[in-house]
């Protein structure tokens, strides 16, 4: 990478840490460190909520998915706006008004200590692991693209994040999120702008080419529970997933607990309700744009440079032959793409020829990816490398650095939020609850900072192993889905008058067991598992509570 781009990245990293440390005032109490003394404005919290959800996966994996699969991933977010509105009138007032530090603390007040401890434990396990995968995504890609060891790449992301999170607490995290969110949006808009400028065809012609390959196919209205992203899985399963993530996951709950008032906490969530789908559409459209751009500029046959080097080293002659076929096929496809752009409406012939040429390219790519599997024993998926390769080879100097800084920003904003929440749950729900209930603030503050460092270190270790887990987007979501629905079920039960602790605890166990069974024994896709988990908890918890009341 050009030194100017490196300079931009390094300046950004230093600035984030220095600014985060500056924001550490008023964090000498537990309330200041974990809650920012409930002093933040709705827009700060709102941007922090969005930045926490938006990870490096969103910046590199999701546009990559847009490039290979089109816009249909957006269906995952169809339930988000409704979920935000529902949370605004249910869980947000409940948690913000109750003065708790964690969502799970509320469950002890409503039910009992074991329900609180179990849900907090599940959060620590699932989020502790997922923060590792969130760190691994950019770590693996940067390692391959820049040719540096994975541990260095992970450290470049992890160390600055741990420093400002540990020193500045939630206040530093929230203000860093604001700046990171702005940087991310600027980077995305800039890359889209450059794509439009550099594209050799007009935007309408680009859309025609993208549409011809099915990449503008957004909605799938079939009701097939084994299909991952459909309109219905997004609307129903997605609503439950978002209710659970934003309503019961400490990494998000902690964001809006820092708001000045219940009203500002609600407003902060509405920012996501309005902007998440347009933002996600922009991210995916960047990917679609890159796909169209690569119809006219020959991309590498393999996007992962490490894999490419391994194949060249082991089977150089065979790979050279494949490269030659690829170059010929690309020239033919490029001509076909221009023909599609120039074709009049209703002229199917150029489009059919283009699709045939595209198929030839995919066959050759398939052969190259098969060679990768044979030579490296690693997953051949290189979707996460498309955008970084494009950024570094096609964007002007400076803008590439800005985008890479944006990827760092996306990674750090979500990791910081998670570390802060993991530290809070560890200290409030376990250390203070079970080990040292009556220590002073200074003691808890020291332990909290130690917990942040511990979780940061744990995430770095997980990140070095998560690299081999396959598609990172789904890995992150899958971890959560095993518990999310059932925990949401417990919170829904908490809102039912007369629901009892035993019903909640037994319901939670049976809910998770059912989701585990469904996940391993049926083809039902993960979004539906959130619905199943929540419904089973209610189906078990309500009758058990009624029986208990009958006995009393």
């Amino acid at each position: 990478m050009h030194w100017v781009n490196w300079l931009i990245v390094i300046v950004y990293l230093v600035w984030v840490v220095v600014d985060g440390i500056k924001k550490s005032q008023d964090t000498d109490t537990v309330s200041g460190y974990f809650m920012a003394n409930k002093s933040l404005s709705w827009w700060v919290v709102g941007l922090s909520v969005m930045a926490t959800q938006l990870s490096a996966v969103t910046m590199i994996g999701t546009p990559g998915q847009g490039a290979t699969d089109g816009l249909r991933f957006i269906q995952l977010y169809l339930g988000l706006p409704l979920a935000m509105v529902i949370l605004g009138v249910t869980i947000v007032p409940l948690l913000h008004g109750s003065g708790v530090y964690t969502a799970y603390e509320y469950l002890e007040r409503r039910f009992d200590a074991k329900t609180r401890s179990l849900t907090a434990f599940l959060f620590l396990i699932s989020r502790g692991l997922s923060v590792g995968t969130i760190m691994a995504a950019p770590g693996v890609v940067f390692s391959a693209i820049f040719g540096i060891p994975l541990t260095w790449a992970v450290a470049m992301i992890g160390v600055p994040t741990v420093i400002y999170t540990m020193v500045g607490g939630v206040q530093a995290v929230a203000w860093a999120d604001v700046k990171q969110m702005i940087l991310i949006v600027i980077a995305l808009v800039a890359i889209m702008f450059v794509l439009i400028i550099q594209m050799p065809v007009s935007p309408l012609e680009a859309l025609t080419i993208a549409g011809a390959t099915g990449r503008l196919q957004v909605f799938d209205f079939s009701f097939d529970m084994s299909e991952r992203y459909t309109f219905w899985s997004g609307m129903i399963g997605g609503t439950f997933l978002m209710l659970s993530y934003f309503g019961t996951d400490q990494s998000q709950v902690q964001r809006y607990l820092t708001a000045r008032s219940v009203h500002e906490a609600k407003s902060s969530l509405l920012m996501s309700a309005y902007w998440k789908i347009p933002l996600q559409a922009l991210v995916l459209l960047v990917g679609v744009g890159v796909f169209v751009y690569y119809q006219f500029v020959r991309p590498p046959l393999l996007y992962n440079p490490t894999h490419e080097a391994a194949v060249v080293a082991a089977r150089g002659a065979e790979y050279d032959d494949l490269q030659r076929r690829y170059a010929e096929a690309f020239t033919l496809r490029e001509a076909a793409a221009f023909a599609v752009a120039d074709a009049s409406d209703g002229d199917r012939q150029p489009m059919e020829l283009f699709l045939a040429r595209e198929q030839e390219i995919q066959v050759i790519r398939g052969e190259a990816l098969a060679m990768v599997v044979e030579e490296t024993d690693e997953s051949s998926t290189d979707v996460n490398y498309i955008i970084p390769r494009f950024v570094l080879s096609e964007l002007p100097i400076g803008l590439a650095g800005l985008f890479i800084a944006g990827v760092f920003a996306a990674a750090m904003s979500s990791i910081a939020g998670e570390l802060n929440a993991l530290s809070t749950a560890s200290v409030i729900d376990f250390y203070k609850r079970w080990m040292r209930p009556h220590a002073d603030d200074a003691h808890y503050l020291t332990v909290s900072k130690g917990a942040t460092v511990f979780w940061g270190f744990f995430a770095c270790i997980v990140a070095t192993y998560a690299a081999t887990l396959g598609s990172l987007i789904e890995v992150v979501n899958r971890f959560g889905s095993f518990f999310y629905g059932s925990i949401l079920g417990v919170f829904l039960l908490a809102m039912i008058p007369g629901a009892k602790a035993r019903g909640a605890f037994v319901g939670l166990i049976i809910g998770m067991a059912t989701v585990g069974f469904v996940a391993f024994q049926t083809p039902i896709e993960y979004l539906w598992q959130n619905v199943i988990g929540a419904v089973v908890v209610l189906l078990v918890g309500v009758p058990l509570s009624l029986m208990e009341r009958g006995k009393a």
Binding site: P81, V85, V89, L207, T208, G211, Q217, V262, L270, Y274
Partner: protein
Amino acid sequence: MVDDTQETSSGGSRFRITLIRVIIVQIIALGLLLWLQIRFGR
């Protein structure tokens, strides 16, 4: 407690207004995506 009471009494209508606003914005966003699908889809 007074604040809580006010929150509850106007909560229903505020919820409806917010819900309607969010639905309108989403209909516009999803409508644009649906237009892309119909206009340029295969």
